[in-house]
């Protein structure tokens, strides 16, 4: 147990934990919403996120990211990338709903089968990305213009450097930089926006109604298919935001990057109380920080073990997660 290290770099560990935790939280939102409405684990959500990271990387490459220097240009580029990631992730999320869930929900298939179909979809999406050069070859599309996007499709794709993070201020002995602030603030802002949207808007009420009781909701004139679609779409858009933040922070992606992050994000969702939007935020942040602290105490190679052990412990003492579950029962 290395308490010295934990106390010496307490702020560094805490803040980087919060940064990673915010990304977990945004991805967790997609799991928690789909679970809240359908009571199904959307296994393919990690792939929704992964497509977002690629959308960010490609947009920046397409805009010629490497050469820009100005902060304004960098911010503009990131905003374009953000929009691209939101569109791509949202579209992939809708595709998942259409292909892997709707046919099964119509047939009232058992839960486990929906999980299998989502796992299948997850494989298809990840492999389609990992085989993109071969797929383009098979369709006879090649040429210099497409090479930067598909070359070495099974390796890491690095995010082009666009601007160095700016050192902002010190907390303890850790210098907070602009990336840390951007990630944490935008994650929290997005979570608040979604939370308010679900609580206050008409469609948000529809989603909550479907989560509580799909049949009564249908009788009251809520289009449940549309509500489910919207749930996937919001989850996808948030995964797109997460993808941008991830690419700013980690700066590299790969076709199978979604898997571990997806597991972590789902853990975060369960930790906070699945189906609970605020729980996703709390769970994500707690998980990120706990991982860092625990890693500092007993070695960073045990980080993943720590997060799972934490999950088991919390579920034992509070089986519905930290904030309790249910999207439907949230007060309006």
């Amino acid at each position: 147990m290395d308490f010295d290290f934990l106390f010496h770099s307490f702020f560094a560990l805490t803040i980087t934990g919060l940064v990673v935790g915010s990304i977990y939280a945004l991805i967790a939102l997609g799991y928690t919403m789909v679970y809240g409405v359908l009571q199904l684990i959307n296994f393919a959500h990690s792939e929704v996120f992964m497509y977002g990271t690629f959308a960010v990387g490609w947009t920046v490459i397409a805009l010629g990211g490497v050469d820009t220097t100005g902060v304004a240009a960098a911010i503009g580029m990131l905003l374009v990338a953000l929009v691209a990631a939101m569109i791509v992730s949202g579209a992939v999320a809708l595709l998942v709903e259409r292909l892997a869930y709707r046919p099964l929900i119509k047939r009232k298939a058992p839960k486990l089968v929906a999980l299998i179909s989502a796992i299948g979809m997850s494989f298809v999406l990840a492999e389609a990305m990992g085989l993109r050069s071969k797929i383009f070859d098979a369709f006879g599309i090649d040429g210099a213009f497409i090479q930067p996007y598909v070359a070495r499709s099974r390796d890491d794709m690095a995010m082009p450097d666009i601007a160095d993070p700016i050192q902002l201020f010190d907390i303890g002995d850790y210098t907070v930089n602009s990336v840390d602030v951007v990630v944490i603030v935008s994650a929290i802002v997005m979570m608040v926006l979604v939370d308010q949207f679900i609580r206050r808007s008409r469609v948000g009420r529809g989603i909550r109604a479907v989560a509580q009781d799909p049949e009564s909701a249908a009788l009251m004139g809520v289009n449940s298919t549309r509500s489910v679609q919207l749930t996937f779409l919001i989850g996808g858009i948030m995964a797109g935001v997460a993808a941008l933040l991830y690419m700013i922070y980690i700066e590299s992606t790969k076709f199978d990057v979604g898997f571990l992050l997806g597991v972590k994000a789902f853990t975060a969702a369960v930790l906070g109380g699945i189906g609970n939007l605020r729980g996703a935020l709390v769970g994500g942040l707690v998980l990120g920080v706990a991982e860092n602290w625990g890693g500092a105490l007993i070695g960073s190679q045990w980080q993943d073990v720590i997060s799972f052990v934490l999950l088991i412990i919390i579920l034992l003492f509070r089986p519905t997660g930290i904030l309790g579950e249910s999207l439907g029962s949230s007060r309006a």
Partner: protein, 383 residues
Amino acid sequence: MSTPVKSTKPAARKRSFRELVDGLPKFVKVLLVLLLIVFLYALPIIEPPFISTPDVDFGGTLFTVATYCLVALGLNIVIGYAGLLDLGYVGFYAVGAYTVAVVTAAHGSWPFLLAVPLAVVAAMISGVILGAPTLRVRGDYLAIVTLGFGEIIRLIAVNNNWLGGSRGINEIARPQSIELFEVPHIDWSTGQPLLDLDNTTVFLKFGILDLIPYYWMALTAVLIVIWADRRIKDSRVGRAWEATREDEDAAELMGVPTFKFKLLAFALGAFVGGLSGALFASKQAFINPTSFLLLLSILFVAAVVVGGQGNRYGVLLGAALVAYLPERFRGFEDWRVLVFGIVLMVLATFRPQGLIPPRRTVRAKQAEAEIAVLEGEAPKDEA
């Protein structure tokens, strides 16, 4: 609303395979089963064209199929009978494999046959250790907790030098060879089956090159487990599982100690998983943590669900497909995960109850359809 009632006549439906078999006299049934078993043992010797794998060793492929079958039988107890979703089953498989590796190679030199019981017991204990705290949490959470358990086992193996770290453990003991006689293979290269006396398998020589004896060993284990599975499914325990799966509260009210039976299912599932892992370690002679990725757990669950959870022959078919198809189509190696994903989706959509669903499910469906007809509704398409 008076929609014309479609007439579905249950009496006129085609006789199922099951009824056909049930109608046969007993000695014919026994004979058929024996023939099937003999055929299964002889399969790697016959090497039938089209079925045998052109790019990889056929005996090795069959061994893989047999271990997957074993795993599927064990996981079927957990998922199919007791209704507990276990996404970390590879953890038990790894415990079995590592136990054998540790006591026969890394920190001891036990013979393989002594190591197997230890491996199985170790896997069972790990099942109880995982199950005792977690089986009280709700079903969906169990999935993620077990997923975490599978990862924890793998990460412990990666980070622990006593377990060989990420390099793994090699020179794991093989089973004791008893060389009795040689079995010639059959050669199909001319289009006619010919005995090939140059290409033989020594009966029970557990070497490096010829993997067929390992297949025989694994097949024997599969047959024993099928037999035990039949006994236990039809016993009080099997009925208790079924009751727990269908309605836990009702089962508890009827006096079924549901927690105990869930734990038993977990332990028995772990038992079979550990056995499978032990056989795998011995055939491989070398294991490292990458042999036990989370993906494997997901493949195992896929095998059970695709085959038909709750039906032991269904899950055997599912396991055989999941293990065999990727080996048969090695030529498309790059594409196989993609194709596998598509197959999973298509099967889940068009045959959600699995390839061979349990008889109970089929009967329940029929009853539902009949009730729907009686109530004057148009029968729903398969729900």
